[in-house]
Symmetry: C2
Subunit: 456 residues, 2 copies
C-alpha cells in the first residue's frame, strides 16, 4: 500500500478536517464510486489512553461516509463478541459531528475493554460459555459475526490486541471467509514496532511533562535541600519516563536525573549521581520508570508484585523504595509521587497532535478494510513537510509485525552515564505533545461523553 | 471596616477588571486623593497553592496604583527578612499588566516559602544569625524593615502565617511603630476560620474533582469488579476530600464512598460499606482523607509518619493501607492513588473564581494597610447577587482570629452513615470551582513565570 503525505494541522490553528485526497487508498478498489455494503463491528482492548476514542471516532466517521452498513460495537473487547454483548452504535449515540468531536476528546474507552487472549485456533475453547455449549472461540466469533452480517471487524489496541487481529485474520483465511480484520494501534507506552510512535503516547507524554513542570514549581519554594522522586509508567520501555524531560524550559531544568528500564539500575550509582546533583542545587527532581531493574533482572521494587493474565509483572513502588533509600543514606527531605492512572486518562491535557493522528489512524484502518485489506494495522511514518517541519504519513503493516512485540527506547538516546536522555529523544518527542484540544467545561468539569452504558 | 458587594465575573465571560468603586476602603482615609509614601515588603509562607501568586499580583497591582513607594519581596518568607534575602520587585519582573496576568496563574510561590514560627517576642532569639550576632527575631526584623523604609508588610499564608502577622503587629504596637502588618489568606485546605472559604481551595478542589471524574472513566473499562481508593490531602479537615464529590455528573456517580477525618474511621464499617456497594456495581471508587483516624485517635496509616516543625504529623499511606485491607478481606482488584502535590500545583486547571478572588483579597489587604489597618487579614463573605447567584464581599478580621486556628467541615454536611457528604456541601463548594483561566501553552507546556530567582 502506498502512503501519502499529510501535514498535521498547526497546533495554534483550529482543528481542520483533513483533505480527502491525501489517501491513495481511496482511489483504488473503486469503493468511493460504489458505496460498500456489509456491517462493521468495532471493539477496543487493553489499557486506556486519552486518544483511543479519537481512533474510534475516525473509524466511525470514515465508515459512515463510505459504507451503507450498520456500525456495531462490542462492549469489553473480544469478550463482548464472545458473550454477544454487541450494540448498534446508533443506539448509543447519534452519529453526528458534535458527538464525534466529543468522542474524540473523551478519555478511557467508550466501548470498554478486556484483557482476553485468544488461544491458537487449533486448540481454542471458549471459556466464557457454559460447559455444555462450549465451542472454540473462533467458531463462536465467526458464528456471531455472520449473524450480524459483519464484513469488517476493527480492533483498537496494543500488541496483545494485534495478536487477536492476526489470529482472526489467519483463521478467516483458513476457512475462506471474506471478513476483514483490521487493527488500529493505541498505547500510552509507545512500545509498538513499525509505527513511528503510538497514538495515546503524545497525550500521556504531554501530561507527564506538564505535571513535571508544575511539580518543579511546587518543589522550588523552600530553601532547604529536597529530593522529589516521580514514578512514571513503563514496565520494559522508558518512553513515558523519558517524556518527563520535555518539561525542561528556560525556567526549570527538572527532571535532573532520569532512570529508564533500558539500562540496569544500581543503588550505589544512583546515590552517587544524586549526591553530586545535591552539591550544585537545593532541589533534585528524579524521574524513574516503574520498571527499572538491577543487573540480575530483579525489579527495584519487586515487593508486592503480581502477574497479570498476559504474564506481565504488575509493579509498584520503585519510587517509594528509592525515597526510603535517599532518606536513610542521604537524610534530606524526600518525597515520592506516582503519576499513576492519571497519566493515561487526563484527557483535558491531551495532545491535539495525538488526538488528530489517532483520528486519522482510525480512518486509515476503515479505508483499508473497505479496500479489502485484512490482518493489518495502520501506522504512522514521520516525514517532513515542505517547510521542513514535523509531519506524518499513514501506511499499513501486517498485524503479525506488531503482535506481541515491543519497541524499547534506543540505547543511543540515553546518555553515557545512564541517568538522562539525549537531545535526539527530545527532538523526536517534542512534536508529539503539541496542541491543546478544545475542552468544554460544565460545572467546573470537562465535558466528556457518557459511559453509563458500561454499567458504571 | 464596612464590606462591599462584589459580583464575581461569570466564568463563561472573559476576565474583566473589577470596578474600582466596590471598595468603601477607597473612600475613607483619603489615600486616593494623596498618593501614599513608604515602601512595602511582601512575603509568602506555608505550603503552595495554585492561587497564592494571584494574591501577590493583587497586592502589587493595588500598591503600585495607590502608593509611590518601592515594592520589595522577601524570598522564602519571614526567613528571607531575617536573613536579608530581600529584592526590589521591579528587579525581578517588569510590573505591567501582562506580567501580572502571568503571575496570577503561575503555581507555587513566586517569592518562595518557609515554615518558620516566630517565638513569642519576650523570648525570641534569631536562630539564623551566628552566635556572636544573635539578637531576637523582632529586633532583627524591625531593624531591617527600618533600613528598607518599609511602612507596609504583607504576609500571604495560612494560620501559621497569621500567627506571624499577629505577633509582628503586637510587637509594633508595643514599640510604637507605625508599620502596618497585614495578612492575606491562602491554603488549599480551606481550614481557616472567619473567611467563607480560603483562596487556593477552589483550584485544588477543581483539580481533585476533574481528576476524580477522569479516573472514573479510566476505571470503567473492564467488566470485572474493581476498587479504586483515592487518597486526598487533609490532615484534620475533610474539605479537599469532600470536593471529590463535585465530580459527580449525569454520567458518573464516583466517588461512591467518602471518608473524612471529621468522623472516626472503622475498618469493619468500611469493609461493610464497600461490600454493600459491590453488590450493586462493578466499580467502586473511594475518596479518603490522608488524615482519617480510628476512634482512639491513631491514624489509619501512622506508619512512617514524622512531625514537622509545627508539630503537624506528616502522613502517608492511608490509601495504601486500605488497598491492602480490601485485597486481603474482599479479594477483588484494587488500586490506590495518591493525588499528592499535584492537587496544590496543577495551575493549568485552576478555578478562575479562585484566581479572581485571590487577586481581590490581595488588593483588599493592600488597601487596608494603606488605610492604616494592621494585624488583620482580608476575608471572603458569601452573599447573593441581585440574581440570587453566588457572590462574595471582602472584609477584614483580626489576624488573632485566624492564627493557629482550624475550621473543620461541619458534621451536618456529612451523611448519617459517615461515608458521604450532603447536598449542602455541594451547594457550598460548587461555585468555588467554576471558570477556566486562560492558559497559554508553549512547546506543549503551560507558560508560567520563571522561578529561577529561587535558585532552582
Amino acid at each position: 500500500m502506498k502512503s501519502s503525505k499529510y501535514r498535521p494541522p498547526s497546533p495554534k490553528k483550529k482543528r481542520e478536517p483533513i483533505a480527502f485526497d491525501i489517501y491513495p487508498l481511496l482511489s483504488y478498489n473503486g469503493y468511493m464510486k460504489n458505496k460498500n455494503t456489509g456491517n462493521c463491528l468495532i471493539a477496543q482492548s487493553g489499557g486506556p489512553t486519552s486518544a483511543i476514542n479519537a481512533s474510534l471516532a475516525g473509524l466511525i466517521a470514515e465508515f459512515k461516509e463510505n459504507c451503507d452498513g450498520e456500525i456495531f460495537g462490542a462492549l469489553n473487547g473480544i469478550q463482548g463478541v464472545l458473550s454477544r454483548n454487541i450494540i448498534n452504535f446508533k443506539d448509543l449515540l447519534d452519529i453526528n459531528e458534535e458527538n464525534l468531536e466529543k468522542l474524540k476528546i473523551s478519555p478511557a474507552m467508550y466501548l470498554g475493554s478486556c484483557r482476553y487472549k485468544l488461544e491458537p485456533f487449533q486448540t481454542a475453547i471458549n471459556q466464557l460459555l457454559p460447559d455444555y455449549e462450549r465451542i472454540d472461540d473462533y467458531t463462536c466469533i465467526f458464528n456471531i459475526l455472520k449473524e450480524y452480517n459483519i464484513k469488517y471487524f476493527f480492533y483498537i489496541g496494543g500488541n496483545d490486541s494485534m495478536d487477536t487481529v492476526k489470529k482472526l485474520g489467519e483463521y478467516a483465511k483458513s476457512i475462506d471467509s471474506d471478513i476483514s480484520f483490521m487493527g488500529v494501534p493505541k498505547t500510552i507506552d509507545n512500545d509498538l514496532p513499525v509505527t513511528d510512535h503510538t497514538p495515546g503516547y503524545g497525550s500521556a507524554a504531554r501530561y507527564i511533562a506538564a505535571s513535571m513542570l508544575e511539580m518543579a514549581y511546587d518543589t522550588s519554594i523552600y530553601n532547604t535541600k529536597s529530593v522529589l522522586i516521580v514514578e512514571i509508567m513503563g514496565r520494559n520501555a522508558g518512553w513515558l519516563t523519558a517524556a518527563s524531560a520535555l518539561a525542561r524550559t528556560d525556567f526549570s531544568d527538572a527532571p535532573h536525573l532520569i532512570y529508564l528500564p533500558e539500562k540496569n539500575f544500581s543503588d550505589t550509582q544512583f546515590l552517587s549521581d544524586l549526591r553530586e546533583k545535591l552539591t550544585s542545587r537545593s532541589h533534585v527532581i528524579i524521574a524513574v520508570s516503574e520498571g527499572i531493574h538491577y543487573q540480575d533482572g530483579t525489579y527495584v521494587s519487586a515487593a508486592g508484585s503480581i502477574k497479570d493474565q498476559f504474564g506481565h509483572v504488575m509493579l509498584n513502588g520503585a519510587g517509594r523504595y528509592l525515597a526510603k533509600l535517599v532518606s536513610s543514606k542521604i537524610g534530606c527531605k524526600v518525597r515520592s509521587v506516582e503519576l499513576n492512572v492519571l497519566q493515561r486518562c487526563s484527557a483535558h491535557l491531551s495532545s491535539l497532535t495525538d488526538i488528530n493522528e489517532s483520528f486519522e489512524l482510525g480512518k486509515t484502518s476503515a479505508r483499508a478494510a473497505l479496500s479489502g485489506e485484512s490482518a493489518k494495522m495502520s501506522c504512522l511514518r514521520r516525514i517532513k513537510n515542505e517547510d521542513g517541519q514535523y509531519a506524518v504519513e499513514y501506511f499499513l503493516t501486517e498485524a503479525e509485525n506488531v503482535a506481541n512485540k515491543e519497541k524499547k527506547l534506543p540505547l543511543e538516546w540515553i546518555n553515557q552515564a545512564g541517568n538522562d536522555i539525549t537531545q535526539e529523544f527530545l527532538d523526536y518527542a517534542r512534536p508529539l505533545i503539541l496542541g491543546q484540544p478544545k475542552i468544554e467545561y460544565q460545572n467546573g468539569l470537562p465535558v466528556y461523553l457518557s459511559i453509563r452504558h458500561l454499567g458504571v
